[in-house]
């Protein structure tokens, strides 16, 4: 699943975020969940009990599937806008 940026949408300035040590390009204003999807980063974390792979699911702050470590704290990627230099750790099974 790779989200496709639609044509005809003005986007913010390019920003660079770091996901598990690798640079990922995105645009200002985009949510982290959307930016990760557009970069083909679909697996965000593993479920704590069975270790099943999970990705963003509801995109409205309800399901908590996209809760990952952003700049050192657990945050919901669908609610957090990207900023230049953002550091993201995809959370393994905890």
């Amino acid at each position: 699943m790779t989200a496709q940026r639609m044509a005809g949408i003005g986007r913010g300035a390019p920003v660079s975020i770091v996901v598990d040590g690798s640079p990922v390009e995105a645009f200002g204003g985009e949510s982290l969940a959307a930016a990760l999807l557009a970069a083909n980063i679909v697996q965000l974390r593993k479920s704590p009990r069975e270790g099943g792979v999970r990705g963003a699911f509801c995109f409205m702050g309800v399901c908590q599937e996209c809760a990952i470590i952003v700049d050192g704290t657990v945050q919901q990627a669908c609610l957090v806008p990207v900023h230049d230099g953002m550091t993201v750790t995809l959370r393994g099974s905890v």
Partner: protein, 480 residues
């Protein structure tokens, strides 16, 4: 270490979608001091969600929802309503103290009256593979497209029920994506039956017809009376299989069809997010047609707990336009109850609003009927399908807990951990209650999860702020 300030208001409105926005505006026009709180940075809720700062339509072209959202945002900005965006309400106590947390810190508000307008979330009945990355909610797909300007995948299958199916499929096509198929629980006859109701709002009907035309032009296969039987893939969804069902959602044993996809958007209707009435022990009633457990309230949204009002889809699934009307009614009632509106003025204003409300009933009834829960889908969940995503609880474990004596949902939660994860039972609650009801006899007997703070999960660090261990006031030990 300063203690957090509690800011006094006449009315607190939680949720800034069409319902909460209208409630706040009506009450502030009547002279109440109103604070409007929402998790998002700008008012609009999910349906009128604003594009975030930085994103815009290059040609300035706005759809009807975007225009409505812009009008709401402008009205709130021009009003005397105090706007608190980006703040998460995590606790409500007394009558009423509202505690919020945000990246900017903690703030608390106090008011004798409270409007709960927290909207709805999606019902997604579990099927094998629904936890795979790449499987997303239908409403989530609209958010990606409307507020992020992104199509969810290269090739998306759109499944579930209700008008959102056509909306999502048409938006994917317009956005340059491919729709592998539409898998619709409803039949052609269901849609025809809904048509007179949908036609009561010609602009929306026209929009719907345009969606279906776009879907037809793109030659997207539409599988009526079908459901998803499984999604498969190694680490993300790669294929989706559909099979025919009857009107109750029960598999009829017809031929399966499999589609290669990299994205599945699925939604089986909406569940009212009535957690505030639930938390405050306000009386609830179960109504399958209205989406589930809804607060008992009068025409104006007054709940059984004094000073609490419920409006919008969080009180009963009806859609954006009725939400704005029930929100306005709640705002007017709050103003009346606090004495800011005299009874004559209240009568006039509410009469006009109620007349507008009655005109919306045909449309929302038709849409609600298309989105109605199909009971057999719950019965047919396979034993090894994960029901509670947070805690990885499978149906077989839920059945085992019921067999061990869990007779209602709170006991089931204690026995199995089902619903104890970070989503606080929002994703699985409706399904789990349906499973318990199969044994308990009814949804009333199965009950609902007791509301507890925090209303939404908040990081402890956000609540503590600068507060440190050394700030804990320790009294001098008593002399021996």
């Amino acid at each position: 270490m300063a203690l957090p300030l509690v800011l006094p208001f006449d009315l607190v409105v939680i949720g800034a979608g069409p319902a909460g926005g209208a409630a706040a505006l009506a009450a502030s026009e009547a002279g109440l001091r109103v604070v409007l709180i929402d998790e998002s940075a700008a008012p609009g809720g999910q349906v009128y969600r604003a594009m975030p700062a930085g994103l815009s339509h290059s040609d300035g072209a706005l759809g009807p929802d975007e225009r409505a959202g812009q009008a709401l945002r402008e009205a709130i900005a021009a009003s005397s309503v105090t706007w608190k965006g980006g703040a998460r309400v995590w606790s409500i106590s007394g009558r009423y103290r509202i505690d919020t947390a945000s990246t900017a810190g903690c703030e608390s508000f106090e008011a004798p009256r409270l409007v709960a307008a927290t909207g709805a979330h999606e019902r997604i009945v579990p099927f094998p593979g629904w936890t795979l990355p790449g499987v997303i909610g239908l409403a989530g797909a609209t958010i990606l497209m409307k507020s992020q300007g992104m199509v969810p995948g290269r090739r998306t299958l759109v499944a579930g029920c209700g008008p959102l199916l056509a909306a999502v499929a048409a938006k994917i096509i317009a956005g340059g994506g491919e729709v592998a198929a539409i898998v619709d629980l409803s039949s052609r006859a269901d849609w025809l039956k809904a048509l007179p109701g949908l036609a009561s709002r010609p602009a929306l009907l026209k929009q719907g017809i345009n969606w279906f035309l776009a879907i037809g032009m793109a030659r997207v296969p539409v599988l009526f009376r079908h459901t998803i039987v499984r999604a498969e893939g190694e680490n993300a969804v790669a294929s989706v299989t559909a099979s025919p069902v009857d009107g109750n959602g029960r598999l009829s044993g017809g031929p399966e069809r499999t589609f290669e996809v990299d994205s599945l958007a699925v939604g089986h209707g909406l569940v009212p997010g009535a957690e505030i009435p639930r938390l405050l022990r306000s009386k609830l009633a179960f109504s399958a047609a209205s989406g589930g457990w809804i607060p008992v309230r009068d025409t104006f949204g007054r709940c059984s707990v004094e000073g609490l009002y419920a409006a919008g889809d969080g009180a009963e699934i009806a859609g954006a336009l009725p939400a704005a009307i029930t929100g306005r009614l709640a705002g007017l009632a709050a103003a009346r109850d606090s004495g800011a509106l005299d009874s004559a003025r209240f009568e006039i204003l509410s009469e006009v609003t109620l007349a507008a409300f009655r005109k919306t009933l045909a449309f929302s009834g038709a849409a609600r009927d298309l989105m109605r829960p199909r009971p057999a889908m719950i019965e047919d969940i396979a034993p090894d399908t994960v029901v509670c995503r947070c805690e990885d609880i499978r149906r077989s474990e839920i059945e085992a807990a019921i067999a061990a004596g869990a007779s209602e949902v709170n006991q089931l939660k204690h026995f199995s951990r089902c619903g104890m994860g970070p989503c606080q039972g929002r994703m699985c609650g409706d399904t789990v209650a349906g499973l318990v009801a199969l044994h308990a006899g009814s949804r009333e007997a199965a009950g609902y999860w007791t509301g507890r703070p925090p209303l939404r999960p908040v990081p402890l660090s956000m609540l503590l702020g600068e507060f440190d261990y050394s700030d804990i006031p320790v009294p001098e030990p008593a002399p021996l």
